[in-house]
């Protein structure tokens, strides 16, 4: 569908207006949503899978699923929570499908093109990668996304008690693994 607004107008438009246009089938508006949200979705996926190429692939899947399901979105205000749910579902499906290894070393060539390779960052990622996928998801949602235990339980479908135990055990494990780094 041809966009009702120019690219410049879309860039200046409020989030709610862009989302409403995307819901009405405006592909340019959807591209603008991707432009505004891509960093968050990709960072989330990188943290979880530790492979930039796979992270980008999963982030693309998230946006395509969002585009296909835009009709189910009740209001523009609910967009971010709805997108987060898609992100989590995409990750859980990937874990189930591929049984991702979680102590895998990163691909150096992949990281080189995507980010600075500081020893500390490598170690945060390496430490995260040593956690089981469900616990890793809970930790990333808690400390990276800033969600509370009940919010994480709602989004992941896990009982609040399980979320709490995943987070407390994983936090202790992370501290242990990162002990040699300053500030942790």
């Amino acid at each position: 569908m041809q966009s009702r607004l120019s690219v410049a107008e879309l860039r200046a438009a409020a989030d709610a207006a862009v989302i409403a246009l995307a819901c009405a089938g405006d592909d340019q508006a959807f591209t603008e949503i991707v432009r505004r949200r891509h960093a968050r979705v990709r960072r989330f996926m990188y943290r979880l899978c530790r492979r930039p190429a796979l992270g980008d692939d999963l982030a693309q899947q998230v946006f395509l699923t969002a585009w296909r399901s835009l009709g189910q979105l009740r209001s523009a205000a609910a967009f971010d929570g709805w997108l987060k749910r898609i992100m989590i579902t995409t990750w859980l499906v990937e874990v189930r499908r591929n049984k991702l290894e979680f102590a895998r070393e990163p691909e150096e060539a992949d990281f080189g093109s995507h980010r600075e390779t500081t020893a500390e960052r490598m170690d945060l990622d390496a430490a995260l990668a040593r956690l089981p996928p469900q616990a890793r998801l809970c930790v990333v949602l808690a400390y990276d996304e800033g969600l509370s235990h009940p919010e994480i339980a709602t989004l992941t479908g896990l009982p609040v008690g399980t979320v709490k135990s995943h987070i407390s055990r994983s936090a202790a494990r992370l501290r242990e693994l990162l002990a040699e780094y300053e500030g942790v």
């Binding site: 946006f63 990333v140 400390y143 509370s148 942790v184």
Partner: protein, 119 residues
């Protein structure tokens, strides 16, 4: 749910060090070619969806056209059977028993829908 909300203190008592580390260790991601790639895939998906819709519509129209002969025969047969059924029902109702059965049905209906009929 707003992802930007900070977690409640009681949820993460003592987790400030990890929160600070996650915040400090934000990965930098380049906008392109990711955004263009998603836009291209959306255009492809839309094109595929339209193609599937057109093919389905054409197949449905073709099936309707191919089956039209049998559809006409079936509707003629159905119409004849319904004619016979209605004339049998009309002759059965046009008797004292028929009037009685009709009255009984009306009474049952009035009882069932009494609230809607009489408030």
């Amino acid at each position: 749910m707003d992802s930007g909300d900070m977690p409640r203190d009681e949820d993460y008592a003592g987790g400030d060090d990890l929160r600070a580390l996650f915040e400090r260790e934000q990965v930098h991601v380049a906008e392109q070619p990711f955004v263009n790639e998603v836009a291209r895939r959306v255009v492809d998906a839309r094109r595929r969806r339209m193609l599937v819709t057109r093919v389905t519509q054409a197949a449905a129209f073709g099936a309707l056209f191919a089956a039209s002969h049998w559809l006409v025969l079936a509707s003629t047969l159905l119409s004849a059977k319904l004619d016979a059924l209605f004339s049998y029902a009309a002759s059965a109702l046009d008797t004292p028993y028929g009037y009685g059965a009709g009255l009984l049905c009306a009474l049952v209906a009035a009882l069932v829908f009494r609230r809607r009929l009489f408030g």
